[in-house]
């Protein structure tokens, strides 16, 4: 079956092709005219669906997007490789083991999110634009998973980054726009440093598809740049500022995918472009691990004080990514842990993605699902509870299996207290999830039509999450977190009871730290930079202005004064005559004093007798003596 490897290409090209017809969904600029259909029909001739008046069918195309990727993930054996030397700068598409896991959960989550978006946003304003950007982001995401070489990774990364900016600012509310701006600035910074890193990697390893052994030759600079570049995407603490702002601002399916799959890409990048397992990087690994720990513990308290459920979930993603970074850091410090660690990270990422995606979609459903409110809402709440437990890693859930997979790395870490710290963090996360349930329970629902299919898709997701431990995990793994989680639950119920009795007890804590916490600092820093720039630029600007002014008025004065007849003086005969005779004299002197005359001048001037009759005679004689030769 030679066709199968082309599935790898179809995985990411297919959504790209769908992007344009979906974009046309809102009707081209001439909404009314009949030609509208023909244009888009010409392009997407592959879809024979008849054209309803408002052409909603294009919205459903987004659902078709992730299908090839899902098929590739399920059908293709690991290691199928496709070399396309002519595409871009020499593309190599391959399904490595980590890639396969990533592809699976990414495609799954994109599929469910696209179902959700196709139905929920169908009648929304600018649906076409959202659909197109959604597909572009999906294509970028899939391309970088499947593409092994540097270029594909960077191309996917950039496309995904820019497209998701469009998703974030879809609602065009002021907060969404501000979030979008922050997101874009930080994403671009990340991208640029990733570009520099990849260039140096390509140069130092000499190949565009560096294997872990080639990567051992890397020096400090590329590693730092990769860590910084992907750290922004992963939400490493000082660089996480955009995450809590962007995710809540984006529409539900977008934030589900953002939190679920997009931020996981950073881990994939690190796994691919850092010498995992082949070289011990004690200092970089330690730094990453410490960063992870810091992120893990920083995000929890801030998340607890948030008011918006999506902000809480965003902070929980940040902390979970902190945990994964910790594990990766440990693996980097101790290469022997690599095989176990990488598998653990992949599994953990998968479980977190599905759970977090489900939670976000659940929040969406909680807000808008309308069917017979009596029956649906409790179901939604139940689902949310289950997903929260899975996220926390309660026993018998996917979280437990994932934690079990990761535990050996944590235990083997040379810092003994790491395991204890992780346990405490699990309790913290449980508290956070409790807070989330409390808040989402309190949200009022304003129902909107058309949430049947999203509900079904959500239910499917929950079923998958439920099946996750039994399909992948070994029996022993089900029992992990058996101590930490119940403790967390107990604490959570206690606090809930206390808060329920007198609500204003915790009131001051809520909203203490606004989402995107450190961003507040940026305003003064920005002002400082502007002031410094102004202070530096002003003198140069003034100098330039002065010079320009001087030159212009000089030019003006010279050019505009009336030409006047300067030549009048020259035209006077006496002046002209004087000049002329002056030149004549100069010429004679120059000729006489010239060397040809000097060397044989004597022969010609014998002094013979002179008779001069006129009055000038004396002068002539005087002149003769003084004659040059």
């Amino acid at each position: 079956m030679t066709l199968i490897p082309w599935l790898l290409v179809a995985a990411w090209v297919w959504p790209l092709l769908l992007a344009w017809p979906v974009a046309g969904q809102g009707g081209s600029w001439r909404a009314s005219s009949a030609t509208d259909g023909s244009v888009t029909a010409a392009v997407s001739s592959t879809v024979p669906i008849t054209v309803p008046s408002k052409a909603h069918w294009r919205g459903f195309l987004t659902i078709l997007g992730p299908l090839p990727a899902l098929l590739a993930a399920l059908l293709l054996p690991v290691g199928t490789r496709l070399e396309l030397p002519w595409l871009f700068l020499g593309t190599a598409l391959e399904l490595d083991p980590v890639g396969q896991v990533y592809l699976l959960f990414t495609a799954l989550l994109w599929l469910i999110a696209s179902v959700y978006s196709a139905f929920s946003l169908r009648t929304a304003e600018h649906a076409g634009r959202f659909g197109a950007l959604f597909l572009l982001a999906m294509a970028g995401n899939l391309w970088l998973i499947v593409g092994q070489d540097l270029f594909s990774f960077y191309a996917g990364f950039a496309m995904m980054g820019l497209a998701s900016y469009g998703l974030v600012i879809h609602d065009a509310t002021p907060s969404a726009l501000r979030a979008g701006k922050v997101y874009l600035v930080m994403a671009l910074l990340g991208e640029v440093s990733l570009f520099a890193a990849l260039v140096i990697i390509a140069q130092q390893t000499g190949s565009t598809e560096p294997s872990p052994d080639d990567l051992t030759q890397l020096t400090a600079l590329p590693i730092a740049l990769v860590l910084f570049g992907l750290g922004v995407k992963a939400g490493l603490v000082p660089l996480h500022l955009w995450l809590p702002l962007a995710h809540p601002a984006a529409p539900v399916p977008a934030s589900a995918v953002l939190s679920g799959t997009m931020i996981k890409v950073a881990l994939l990048g690190w796994l691919r472009f850092l010498p995992v397992g082949t070289q011990a990087l004690p200092e970089w690994g330690g730094l990453l691990a410490a960063g992870g720990l810091l992120t893990l513990f920083y995000a929890l308290p801030v998340g607890l004080v948030q008011a918006d459920p999506k902000a809480i979930l965003a902070y929980s993603s940040v902390s979970k990514m902190g945990l994964l970074m910790l594990v990766l850091g440990l693996v980097l410090m101790e290469p022997a842990l690599a095989p176990v660690g990488v598998a653990g990270i992949a599994l953990y990422a998968a479980s977190h993605a599905l759970a977090k995606g489900g939670l976000f979609l659940g929040v969406g459903l909680r807000k808008q699902a309308a069917l017979q409110p009596a029956l649906v809402q409790p179901l939604v709440l139940g689902g949310l509870l289950f997903l929260a437990l899975a996220l926390v890693g309660a026993p018998f859930t996917s979280g437990a299996v994932a934690k079990y997979a990761v535990k050996p790395v944590i235990e083997a870490a040379d810092w003994p207290w790491v395991a204890a710290a992780v346990a405490v963090s699990t309790v913290g996360t449980t508290l956070l999830m409790g807070r989330f349930l409390w808040v989402s329970a309190g949200t009022r629902t304003h129902s909107a039509p058309g949430y049947l299919w999203p509900g079904i898709a959500w239910a499917l997701l929950i079923a998958l999450v439920a099946l996750f431990p039994f399909v992948l995990g070994k029996a022993t793994s089900w029992a992990t977190n058996s101590v930490a989680v119940p403790l967390g639950v107990v604490l959570a119920t206690l606090v809930a009871l206390a808060a329920w009795r007198n609500p204003d007890w915790l009131k001051p804590l809520i909203g203490l730290i606004p989402p995107g916490d450190l961003i507040v600092l940026s305003r003064p820093v920005g002002a400082l930079v502007k002031a410094f720039g102004g202070w530096l630029w002003r003198p140069i600007g003034q100098l330039a202005a002065r010079i320009a002014g001087f030159a212009i008025d000089r030019y003006e004065r010279v050019c505009n004064e009336p030409p006047g007849d300067v030549e009048r003086g020259l035209r006077a005969w006496s002046v002209a005559g004087a000049l002329w005779i002056g030149i004549l004299a100069l010429l004679v002197v120059a000729l006489l004093s010239g060397e040809p005359l000097l060397d044989n001048g004597e022969a010609s001037s014998d002094q013979g007798g002179i008779q001069a009759d006129s009055g000038r005679q004396a002068e002539a004689i005087a002149n003769e003596e003084s004659s040059p030769d």
């Binding site: 974009a23 081209s28 600029w29 030609t35 030397p85 002519w86 595409l87 871009f88 700068l89 020499g90 634009r129 270029f151 960077y154 191309a155 950039a158 496309m159 820019l162 469009g166 600012i169 065009a172 874009l184 671009l188 910074l189 640029v192 440093s193 570009f195 520099a196 260039v199 140096i200 390509a202 140069q203 600079l221």
Partner: protein, 503 residues
Amino acid sequence: MSQMLSWTALLPGAIVLSSMLPGAFIFLVKEESHVLRGVLNMFGAIIKLVLVGTLIWGVFLGGVFESRLTIAPGLDLVLHADALSVLFVTLSSVLWLVTTVYAIGYLEHSPNRSRFFGFFSLCVSATVGIALAGNLLTFVIFYEILTLATYPLVAHRGTPEATRGAKIYLAYTMGGGVALLVGAVWLRALTGPVDFVEGGVLSGMASTLHPQLIAIFLLLLLGLGVKAALVPLHGWLPQSMVAPAPVSSLLHAVAVVKAGAFGIVRVVYDVYGVDFAAELGLLIILGVWASLTIVYGSVKALTQDGLKTRLAYSTVSQVSYIALGASILGPVATIGGMVHLVHQGIMKITLFFCAGNYAETLGVHKVSQMDGVGRRMPWTTLAFTVGALGMIGIPPIAGFVSKWYLGLGAVEAGQHWVLLVLAASTLLNAGYFLPILYKAWFRPPPDAWPNEHRFESRFETMGALLWPPVITAAFCLIAGLLAAAPFSPLEWATLIARREYGL
């Protein structure tokens, strides 16, 4: 004249004449006879393309194409086609065809079109002449003819601003031309006739002459820098944006500006030889100057509200990429510089075409008026987006490829600071392009456009105006996506680098 002039000797000359002769006839064409003028234009463009095609094939097989005309004893007008010149010739001829179509559409009812298209063809012949120039004298001759031929185009509209812009343009380029002339003559006096030879001519000069050679390089750089819009000498570019869109797209994005950059590449590689230039420390000067221009151009572009002026400043910064590529020692950076010569051309011409479309169809001249343009003109704005993202260097569009090779070359040569410059430039480009895209796609359109006039065409604007930007945008994508394919700009640039470095 006695020996039979084989076609290899005639081809370069024919290429230059293929646009000059129609141009000369167009001058005499009456104003109302559009068809004749159109036919002459297209005839010239297509013939040139065919000839260039055969030239590409010939040079690829290693053939030598040279037409030599002795103006006076010791002064030869030489048109010699080597790999580098073919790159530039192909770029200008392809884009000339596209721009001619665009110009015919753009200047539908405007006056003085015979004069316009006459000078337009003259410009292209001068550009092709510059590309094919075989020695420094021919280069200087065609360099000045280009100045002469572009002056009437910039002043074409006849408004006071147009004449003022043209006057400023002339002041700069005339000064530059004279500097180039003095440098060329000084070099000619020192070393005899200066033919462009791959790998450079001057490496064998006595060391006593080195200070003079450095002075000559600075003079040549000054002369070429005016057209390549290096920082202090770039003043004319934003001013000459008063010219009609086809002029600012072909000339100020491709022909004139590239002539300067191409000149710098010629001088560095084929006159001095890149190793000798490095030995004299000239590459450092060029590198620093180019980097300054890159950053300065982008910073200035941030503050410009006029769409075309912003694009002009972006050109100022982008063209210096080529100079930067030339200033880094190493084949990879050379490839980066050369390929950017093509990529910047097709991307920038797309942007200028779109700017022209907005101006012509909606009367939008300022970035602040660009709200909701995406809704009104989706195809043009899509082309604009492709061009803009390409300029920023977002893969898979062509801009990324050249930025990648420049970066790789810089790192290979150990000049890591270049990465910093590239990063800064990318961010700044994003800084002034993304807001435009945001306004175009995400802002609601105003209730009435400044002066919209609907064309009876089936699409958003006239066919002749719409298809050129879409085609060039497609070129950008193809040049990016199929960069590694044979006969792509990247492959040809690699061929040039291989021949320049004698690998």
